[in-house]
């Protein structure tokens, strides 16, 4: 199959496959960034622009408009071309941020646990002393045996 402007079926299909690959790679990079804790909402918007162009390319290919299909496939690739790099940068930043967060939280928790255990131990000792003093100060009560 070839169109008026000479675009053949294979060329259009190749353009679409390349666009699909570009979107899939970008998506996987975005997922990794998201798992690392990055805010990926801007990247999702870019991916959606790419996906819209890709679906147009697929539909035009299906109805035989090969020129249009290749055009939208190229548009798709150019709209997601930076997404992978941006996602990797965001992922690296998120990993560093996450490490910092884990360190701070772990230190704070360890400190909190230490203070609680130490405070509990001291508190118990004081209480025990107070309790024993109080017991020792008690006078035996004389109870009459009226059996």
């Amino acid at each position: 199959m070839s169109s008026v402007l000479g675009m053949d079926n294979d060329e259009a299909l190749t353009a679409i496959r390349k666009a699909e690959f570009a979107v899939a790679s970008a998506y996987e990079a975005v997922l990794e960034a998201e798992k690392a804790g990055a805010n990926v909402s801007d990247l999702l918007e870019k991916l959606n622009v790419g996906a819209e162009n890709l679906t147009k390319a697929c539909m035009l290919y299906r109805i035989g408009d090969l020129e249009g299909a290749a055009h939208f496939a190229d548009l798709c690739r150019s709209s997601v071309v930076d997404v992978t790099n941006e996602a990797e940068t965001l992922r690296d930043l998120a990993v560093v941020e996450r490490k910092k967060q884990v360190l701070v939280i772990s230190l704070a928790s360890t400190f909190g646990v230490g203070v609680t255990v130490f405070g509990g131990f001291l508190g118990w000792r004081r209480f025990k002393e107070w309790y024993l003093r109080r017991v020792l100060k008690m006078k035996p009560e004389v109870v009459s045996n009226e059996s």
Binding site: A24, L31, E34, N48, A51, M59, S106, S109, W124
Partner: protein, 196 residues
Amino acid sequence: MNLEDYQTVFTVTVLGLVLVAASPTISLYLHSGRERFSELWVLGPNRMAEDYPFNVTRGKRYSVFVGVGCHMGGSTCYAVYVKFRNQTQPLPNATLSEPSPLEPLYEFQVFVADEMTWESQVNFTVLGVVRLRNSTFVRYLSINDVVFGVNSTATWDSEYKGFFYQVFFELWIYDTAVGSFQYHNRFVGLWLNMTV
């Protein structure tokens, strides 16, 4: 209470406080166990679940909204395939989780963040309708101004009195492990009575 009872109370209280102090660290390693699922819906022209197009005539433009809700625990890539069938052609098989074997006409691909929704308008027009004695033939269906050849015949349904077709939407999800879209076992449809 004797001293041993006080000791038990102290120990339990301190253990409780230790758990509270350690909870931020514990939460770093615990994952939400909530159910993961997706939603698919079709709304009428006013973005409400009413006034769905039913009696359709050739050349007239009808409008619905299709929507997807993501509760998959992360951003998800969906495809919504728009298909067209007469009463004898197969729908998706919900039991076997299989899509309809019919070729998709229009399609949407969309990335939806977790706990977010996506919605899009779908305008369609039935074109090239021929009324025969006991059947109706539809040659084209235009969806969002893209014209697709459908070449579909519906015979007269004497029980429900009409020539029935169905526009239906299948939800597919991109599986990164497989590297392709997989049918997500969700579809919604609109019955259309071709009144010519």
